[in-house]
Structures are given as C-alpha cells and as structure tokens.
Symmetry: C2
Subunit: 340 residues, 2 copies
C-alpha cells in the first residue's frame, strides 16, 4: 500500500510517497501549492509536479495510491472548494481518498508523534499550536502581518526598516542596520549622511521607494540582516531579536497546558539565535526536560498524516525513518523566500 | 489678472480661481488629482473637472489665467514628468506658467503666511514640516504606513484592530473596541465569545478576513471607532489616542526651531480629541502664545502659492479673505475617506 503526503507551501510544494511501514520510496518538489497565495492553476501545477516526481522515482502511478493528504495554510478555509486539487488528480487516475490538513499540524508531525505536544512555526509569519491525539486543539497568533505574526520574519524585517527610517529621520538611535540595509537596497552607507530634498537624507528616500515598491511581506527579507547585525552586537538588532523571542514565547504560552515536546520550524526559530535560545529556555523553565525538535518542513509530517488517514498507527521509529529518508532525498534544498 | 491654485489630493481635487487682490471668483471640486495613487488619466480628469467648474463660475477661460500652482503629495518625485498635467492644459488654451508645490506647504499656507511656522498633517498619514519664507526647510515622518505615519489614522486604526485581535486571541485586555469593531464588520458582539475552529472565537476569523480583504490603509477607517470608544472612557481606546498624540508631538518636535504658529490639518488633529489637545498643550509649553490654526484643506494655500508665483505679496488679510470665500463656496463638503 502506498500513500502520498503533500506539504503545499506558498513557495514550494513537497510530495512524499510512503509505504505502510514508513519507508519513503519517492520524493518530489514543485512550485507554490497554495491556491490562496498563487491562484488555483499555479497551485495545481505545483502539486502535480511534486507528485509526478515522487511517483516517477518509485515507478508507480496515481492509481496505485490509496490515500493522500494535502497540508496547507488556511486549509479549513478551503471547505467547499477542496476539490480544486481532487478533480485534476481524479482525471489522472487517482482512485484513493484525499484529506486536507493544517500545515501547522504537518510541521508538528514532522517532529513528533507524541499524544500531546506543541508546535511553533516562525518564518515569514508566526503561530503556535497545541496538538492532542493528532488534532490541533488550540491556536495562537497566525493572524498575518497586519494584525499579528508577532516575532515573525516580517515583524523583524519591519522593525529593522522602521529602525533605519528612525535613524535617517532623526527620531531613533544610530544602528549598524542602517549601512547594511542601505547597501542591501543598492545604495551606500554614505546615503545616510547625504542631504536630499527638504532636509531629508537621500538614504531615506531610497528606503521609502524600496519598501513601497515591493509587497509588504517581502520586508521579511531583511531578517537575515538583523541576525548578522546582532551577531556583531549592534544593540538595536539585539533588541529586535530579543523582543521577537519574547513575542514568540508569549504566543506559545497562550496554548500551553501540560508538559509535552516542542517542535519548531521556520527560518527565524530554526537557526541558532536569540529567538531559538529564548524558546529553549522557556521550554526548560515551563516543562523541565522535554524534547526540543527543529524541523525543516512539514513533508515528513504530511506523510505521517497520510499514513494515519489510511488507518496505520505511526510510531516514533517510523517518523524518524521517514524524516531521515526525506532529508537524504531532499538535497539540494528547495528555493527560499526572495530577499529584499 | 487671474491665477488658479489646485489642491490635488488622492480623494478629491479642489481648484480656486483668484484675483490679484485675493478674491475667490471661482471654486471647483473634482475627483482624485494624484497620478501616483490613481494613475495619470484619472488625475488629469480630476484636475480638469475642478478647473472647468472654477472657470465656469467666473465666466472665464484657461487663456485668461496667468499662473497655476498644483499642490500635491510627492510633488518633487514628479520632476521630469511635471508635464503630465501641463500638456493637457496647454491643449485647452492655457498660456500661463505652471508650478508644482508640496501639499504640506499648501496646507500650511491655508492657515498662515507667517515667515516662520510649522505644519502638521495627520489624516490617513502623518507628517510635520517647518516652513521658512514660503519654503519647506525641514520634514519629519510622512514615511507611509509601513515605515512611519506615527499617530496617523492608519496607525490608530491598526492599533485598534491589533487590540481587538489581541482580546479575541487571549493576549490582550478586554476593550469596548471589540464589540464596536465586530459590529462595524457586519458581525455581532457575541462573535467574541462564540467558539469557532481550532479553539478560536469566530469573531477573530471575521476580523482577519475583513482586514486582509481590503487595502491596508483602509484600516484608517477604524479611527472614528477609537474616538467614540475613548469618549466613552474605554482605557484601551484612550491609550491609543494618547500614544497617537505623543507620536505626533514627537514628529513635530523634530522640525521645531524658533517660535512660530502651528497649522494643523487632517481628520485626526482637526477634531477635538486627545491628539489635538496634546498638540495645543505642546505648542503652549514650547513656544508660549502662538496661533494654533485648524485648516480643512490646502485649497486656500494653493491659491496663496499661485499668487506668490505671480509676484504678489500675500498678507494675512488676503489669506483670510481667500479662506472665508472658499469655505462659503465649498459647501457641501467633498467626499471623505471610505469607512471600513
């Protein structure tokens, strides 16, 4: 028996073809699989492409697949339109069952099959979930960049842009972020001191044009500059990452109950830095000795969920085997978010 | 001799036909006159429509007009493309000179012709300027909703939406803004307590859908709810308006030098409320007895600037006459920003 777990993200889609005993026999990557962010035709192409690659590696066909899970952000908003992907798959010979699951549940399941645990995803956005018996029973934040995503890559990037604008506008302290960001925008550090129109630095006009010339969430592309400046001990960058860590811990605390493992994913908490260190310390303070697991995608978790939907009990050994086999298959890494 | 002053805003355009002694002999309103926000064809139509109405009232023609000033946000970014409006006017018989000026300078000039003074515009956005001898010599903020506009209508509306999301997500205190905002979004106060998917209140989903279903700046439409809740002494709303007032004063302080009058415009500081009271108190503390002037548009100021470009010295009596005549001609008021 074969199942497919699909981790359909806004940038890349990953498909895992798995056997009933948790072997990964095929792995494929496609483009965006999220119809909300990319439109249905693009999302269908992304999913199809990942699935075809995974099947091809095993010499299998869609007709051989008993069940499929698509894990995606905003999955339950899909409700009545869940056939956006089922209909095209049926046309290509798929006869099994299809289920939709949350991307957050897939991320958690990549890192743990514990009956109670917590997940924090902090990349461009930020949210925390409590998972009990394979279902999400509490969610915090995940409210998007205008209302929440506190501590996220967008949040950090916006804080950085505001700090640079603040220095250039005379309202905030000098920060090593200013030359870094001005150079990242194609200018020079000297733009911060060159007078421009109506008493402003030319660097400020450059910053304003760059920021409003892109989609707001692309501010997340500045987050690596903040990590680099914090490593060089810039106080403003250190403050931003400290505040981000506090914000993420506060979001996690909203869903905490009894002790359980913590699974984290997303560029801000996957790397060693102030936010991850703050999360580790918080976990130890709150629940004592508990696993802290970093995952790089929800691909293994989507396969875990697909196996469960097929009636198979997935234990920790099966999860680890899936994860390891996917990690080997997934080299080189798929595309990341585009930098500012 | 006749001149035309044009206050070309993103929502409405106002044209004032003035004589050399400061009489308003024609006044017209058109749609958006800002090519950046609305595109050049729409902006040309907005300006043409306002100008044609003003000329029609006086039985005058474009050929009778010696000079024209177009005051607009981002005017100096127009640089090489300033003929976007000159060419169409030339085709219709305009033989005079055309100058572009800042909307902030026009706002200030609606309220004062003093050789040194300050202007604060705080509506959807927020900025402060110092004006010396009819030119802007310092600018603060005006950085737009992603980087600044601290204390603006957008800033207040976003704080309100974040406060409501915070209450519904369990991370912030209860606030009277929550039932107000939920009702403004077509829901009911009970949505705050009705459980929805994955442990969230249904009101939170409603808020998220509404906020991301519109342009970000439309959050400014929530500002009136904040003023209303603050009048009813809601502590969260009072805190938001207090912080807005502090932010605006801080922006103004960045351009202050010697004592001078303060001219304020825009929906947040034109009305009696915490931000305006804070500005009045700050002016008195900083510069003692100085005029605090509230203006409702840059129309009179655009006419003042057009007269100056024609070589006429505009004194306080001429400015007041222009303003009063325009106020009478401008009833009923033009359209406002659309509410959330």
């Amino acid at each position: 028996m074969l199942v497919i777990g699909i981790d359909a993200g806004g940038t890349a889609t990953r498909a895992v073809l798995a056997t009933a005993d948790g072997a990964c026999v095929g792995f494929g990557v496609g483009g965006s699989g999220n119809p909300t962010s990319s439109g249905i035709p693009t999302a269908i192409t992304g999913v199809r492409s990942a699935v075809a690659t995974a099947l091809g590696q095993a010499g299998a066909a869609l007709a051989d697949v008993a069940g499929m899970v698509v894990a995606m952000a905003g999955h339950d908003a899909r409700g009545g339109v869940s056939d956006w992907i089922l209909d095209p798959l049926r046309e290509e010979g798929f006869r099994g069952t299809l289920a939709h699951e949350s991307d957050l549940l897939a991320m958690f399941s990549s890192g743990s099959v514990a009956p109670l645990g917590y997940g924090v995803v902090c990349g461009t956005g930020a949210s925390a979930v409590r998972v009990e018996d394979g279902r999400i029973t509490a969610t915090a934040d995940g409210l998007g960049w205008l209302l929440g995503d506190r501590g996220s890559g967008f949040w950090i990037g916006r804080e950085a842009a505001v700090a640079v604008a603040g220095e250039l506008d005379g309202v905030g302290p000098a920060t090593a972020l200013t030359p870094r960001v001005l150079e990242a925008l194609g200018g020079t550090a000297a733009d911060a001191r060159t007078p421009g129109r109506e008493g402003r630095a030319v660097g400020l006009d450059r910053l304003v044009r760059a920021v409003y010339g892109q989609r707001p969430v692309q501010l997340a592309g500045l987050a690596p500059q903040v990590f680099a400046a914090a490593e060089a001990q810039d106080p403003v960058a250190e403050r931003i990452l400290r505040d981000a860590g506090e914000a993420i811990v506060r979001t996690l605390a909203l869903v905490e109950e009894r002790p359980g493992p913590l699974v984290v994913g997303g560029s801000i908490v996957s790397r060693d830095g102030a936010p991850q260190r703050r999360l580790r310390a918080h976990l130890a303070e709150t629940f004592g000795e508990q696993p802290f697991v970093v995952v790089d995608s929800g691909a293994a978790g989507a396969a875990v969920l697909a196996l469960r939907h097929a009636g198979i009990v997935v234990d920790e050994a099966m999860r680890v085997r899936l994860r390891d086999e996917i990690s080997r298959a997934a080299q080189p890494t798929p595309p990341r978010i585009v930098s500012l």
